[in-house]
């Protein structure tokens, strides 16, 4: 059994080691720094109250909490449908923005328009700290499904991007 001081020391260590990772998980869902930081604080408050006894994989456990809290914060999606998603071929200030940056921005919008079951595996796969098994644990799906969904998401994004590029 840990003393209260030891508990807080361990918690402090966990904060210093994993706060930024937890932030990135929340940011992947929310795409907003302030909201993501709120989620991180909420995650560690919960850890503080409940402790980490019996937790095998602390980063994955923290990521799971952060992911669920971030999901709770997301409002209803803005009715974007990847099938009907059409990017404007000419931005008002397109001439002043670098071509490359435009493409990346479009990709972000495409990612945001992906269905959740494809978007979250793809976003979490971008985090180096998480492997497919851990992502599956967070999302509650098998590891093989994680890989399949990531592959499908990438395919859809590339197709959409290719279409917009040919329209240009």
């Amino acid at each position: 059994m840990l003393d209260g001081t030891d508990e807080f020391t361990n918690l402090e260590l966990a904060v210093r080691q994993h706060a930024r990772f937890v932030f990135r998980v929340a940011y992947g869902v929310l795409r907003n720094s302030h909201d993501a930081e709120d989620v991180v604080q909420e995650v560690f408050l919960r850890v503080h109250r409940k402790g980490t006894e019996g937790v095998q994989d602390l980063p994955a456990w923290l990521a799971t909490i952060a992911f669920r809290l971030a999901l709770d914060r997301t409002r209803k999606p803005q009715a974007l449908d990847i099938e009907e998603f059409e990017l404007p071929t000419h931005e008002p200030n397109a001439e002043h923005i670098a071509m490359h940056r435009q493409q990346v921005d479009r990709l972000h919008r495409l990612i945001a328009a992906l269905p959740e079951d494809l978007r979250y595996p793809l976003v979490l796969s971008a985090l180096e700290e998480l492997n497919s098994r851990q992502i599956g644990g967070i999302l509650g799906i098998p590891e093989s499904s994680v890989r399949g969904r990531i592959f499908r998401a990438r395919q859809i994004l590339k197709e959409k991007l290719a279409v917009t590029e040919t329209k240009r």
Binding site: M1, L2, D3, G4, T5, F8, L11, E12, V15, R16, A19, R20, F23, R24, Y27, G28, S33, A36, E37, V40, Q41, F44, L45, H48, R49, Q103, V104, L107, H108, I111, L122, V123, S125, A126, L127, E128, R154, L157, K158, L161, A162
Partner: protein, 188 residues
Amino acid sequence: MNHDEHLDHLLDEALSEYRDAEPLAGIESRILARLQLSEPSRRPFVLRWAIALACAAAIAAAIWFGSVRRTPESVSQTKIAATPSVAQAPIPRPAPVGAASGAKVAEFRRPAKPHAVVAAPVATVAHAVPSVFPLPSPLTAQEQAFLASVQGEPDSARLAAAADDALVIAKIEIKPLERSGTPSGDNP
């Protein structure tokens, strides 16, 4: 670089934003500060146990004192002490002239206080069986003084009691007034 590789590269770059997302500086400090504020009453383990043990000891002591005070003898004594007698009851005095109305109210309420004070012990020992029934009322001041004098000088008291028994009061005879034939010089 073919088109597919180019798209993969773009996709990886877009996803790198998630990987490289950084919070504002000092997020760890802010989290720790909030954690410390969240539970200010969180005490060290030893201190928590010490407080728990002290509370347990206090409760045990209270139970022990309670059991000691509930013996039958003490119960009857408690009842005697708790029963207000006429001699001990405070006599309400008239309030001094010019006293505040609040003082008058307090004066009138005073007799009720003994009942309120003794109500708790009587209630707590209500289930105990008294050793003497009916309960003797406490001695009055005169009785207590007499008891003290008897205990101090038992022989003289006994003799005084015997003297009281032997005392015979002679019958008082009152003779009727005699009337003389000569009128007094005072009466005309």
